[in-house]
Amino acid sequence: MDILVPILTMAALGLFFSAGLVFAYKKLRVYEDPKIEIVSEMLPQANCGACGYSGCRAFAAAVVKGEAPPENCPVGGEEVANQIADTLGIKAGEIIKKVARVHCRGTWNAAKSRGSYLGISTCFAAHLIGGNKQCSFGCLGLGDCVLACAFDAMYMSEEGLPVITEDKCTACGKCVDACPRSILDLQPISQEIIVFCRSEDRGPIARKVCKNACIACGICVRACPDAIILENYLAKIVDFKKIDPEKIPDIEKCPTDSIGRLKKENER
């Protein structure tokens, strides 16, 4: 009869724990939409944060809930957006493919230096003390943006400016955040004419410190008054779609080369 005691004890324990498991399954269950997993797998898994969420999974959850539109993932682009839209039975919005662009042509030769900079070799540190170039708006050339790029789409040229490989650029915006002087920003890839200067100094001052600075002469504005304006002694493109392709040669007459077409890598 002694054998009955352990058998009954074990059976009672088994019953107790299985009851616990049943309770946990029924009452404490967290329901997760299986769609989140599916959408998450479609995403590029770069976890770059460009969409504004902490990672790809958080973005997937937001898309499934309808809080974020599928086209908000700049890395995945049109293809991923359409795929997600098809899966969820919603419509993806129009995607404008963007890339990061450098708005400075102050190479080591063109922009005058202030003296030998002996501090820490990062842009942020150099910016704290006013930078290494006489221009206080231009690129510092120490490569914080290149370090920030997670897609290997940037490198520093020998002239001391970052170069973006537009095929690889996903417009995640990490380089834009890394730059202490806002030299970079995201622009539609279809925009051909770019202002290559950020200097808000008056013409004579800007010209004195950099050969390639915008001196606000207004040649480009006269060519396309609808599309380009002058603001703070700097040309600004308000609407690139209004630039008449026939007028591009006129714009490219810029005496300081501070506005024009981005040269392709093989043209450099």
Partner: protein, 439 residues
């Protein structure tokens, strides 16, 4: 007599003898000067003049509207040539007013003094100090009117007059103490009235015995206490000075108000007296021009906005092969790159050197000298590593924001690591992140 001091700190060579015994010389104002509209801690002043306007000496040309701001005054009489971005000694280019001097030195007629400055109410004193655009002349350029307005729940009992001048080479404050001790003590009395404090303590380092004796004599009828402090850097840093004199510790992230103290530099105190008694705004200051690259080192009274070039010419010019020009003291000063840069309110000195500029940074050998010398009790080597590897949360936990950037750690570092630059980088990253999160 027992000298007072604070723990840690360093004692770099003083090298003050070049200008120690040279009386303050008045420099004639230059033909053209440029007055930046940001010369203080806070937001820039709004310009009040435009191209072509005629201005008088002491006329307000920039209005500081924000709480942390100060008004800017013209330092010569003449015509405004332009309001434009101009090189600023702190590195970035900032809006500045360029004035052509007509050589007449017409003082603004409406400037008025007070017959009995000691009968003014605290509000009137603050108003006059604010009108005069006075900022802390020790170097940080904190608006003085803010410093004279203690919050209601934090009453002030002691006014400390900072006559330490712990930076090597600089002697401007020392000369001011020798030549105008009465003005400084009267100014201290005004500060006491404005803040409602009970006592005044003047702190002087024991390498300035002559100034100490003069003050001891003059203070007899002013009821101010004069204390002798050990010659040590950074004795003149606000928090260390309060600890040395009163054994009170300013809490982390706090102000001297939190321990019932107001600290004013001797130069600021004299400027307060001038503003209150004569209505004279802050348009000139005493600076030390020194260093082994200057032909005739001097203590000079210059107009705010004078380009470095004119000041250096007045002091006999630069020697050959000078490769380093610093505004401020050698420990906390800012390296300069142009001689067109103007003197601002916070300029305590102008130093030029022939110095070897190449250096090699070694790895940290964990010797702990930076820890031994940090006056704030921080661990600079560890902070540097946190910033280097972008661990800003941990850097903040280890008190990076308490750093006063005095440079004691970097001075004592045998591996020549740029500790202060790393810490400044970390502080600025944390502050800009906070600003971003708020927005």
């Amino acid at each position: 007599m027992k000298v007072k001091t604070f723990p840690h700190g360093i004692h770099p060579p003083e090298i003050k003898e070049r200008t120690f015994d040279k009386a303050i010389e008045v420099m004639p104002p230059p033909e053209k000067l440029t007055i930046p509209l940001l010369q203080h801690f806070g937001s820039p002043a709004e310009p009040l003049v435009k191209k072509g306007d005629e201005v008088f000496v002491g006329q307000k040309i920039g209005e500081g509207t924000a709480l942390f701001s100060a008004s800017i005054h013209s330092s010569v009489s003449g015509k405004v040539l332009s309001t434009d971005n101009h090189i600023h000694p702190l590195g970035h280019s900032i809006l500045a007013v360029t004035i052509a001097n007509d050589g007449e030195d017409h003082l603004l007629p409406s400037l008025q003094g007070t017959k009995d400055p000691f009968s003014l109410t605290p509000d009137e004193i603050r108003q006059r100090v604010k009108e005069a655009g006075i900022v802390g002349l020790g170097g940080a350029a904190f608006p003085t009117a803010v410093k004279l307005s203690p919050p209601k729940d934090k009453p002030v009992d002691t006014v400390i007059i900072n006559g330490c001048e712990c930076e090597p080479l600089l002697t401007a404050d020392y000369r001011l103490m020798l030549e105008h001790p009465e003005d400084i003590l009267k100014g201290a009395e005004i500060v006491r009235l404005a803040t409602g404090a009970e006592s005044i303590i003047v702190g002087i380092e024991n390498n300035k015995k002559k100034a100490f004796k003069i003050f001891q004599e003059k203070a007899k009828n002013n009821a101010a206490e004069v204390a002798l402090l050990k010659t040590k850097y950074p004795q003149g840093a606000e928090k260390n000075l309060i600890y040395a004199l009163l054994r009170r510790e300013v809490p982390r992230g706090g102000l001297p108000f939190d321990v019932g103290v107001v600290v004013q530099n001797v130069g600021t105190t004299k400027a307060i007296w001038d503003a209150v008694s004569q209505g004279e705004p802050l348009y000139q200051r005493v600076i030390t021009v020194s260093g082994n690259g200057i032909e005739q080192p001097k203590n000079v009274l210059v107009r705010i906005g004078t380009p470095f070039q004119n000041v250096i010419n007045f002091c006999g010019g630069l020697k050959e092969n000078v490769n380093l020009l610093v505004m401020g003291g050698p420990m906390m000063g800012v390296a300069q790159w142009s001689l067109e840069t103007p003197i601002i309110k916070g300029t305590s000195g102008l130093l030029a050197w022939k110095a070897p500029l190449s250096y090699f940074e070694y790895s940290c050998i964990r010797c702990g000298r930076c820890v031994e010398h940090c006056p704030m009790g921080l661990v600079p080597s560890q902070l540097m590593k946190f910033v280097k590897f972008d661990n800003l949360i941990e850097a903040e936990n280890w008190g990076i924001l308490d750093c006063v950037e005095c440079g004691s750690c970097q001075y004592s570092c045998p591996a020549k690591i740029l500790l202060v630059h790393w810490i400044r980088l970390g502080k600025n990253k944390i502050i800009s992140l906070r600003r971003k999160n708020k927005a």
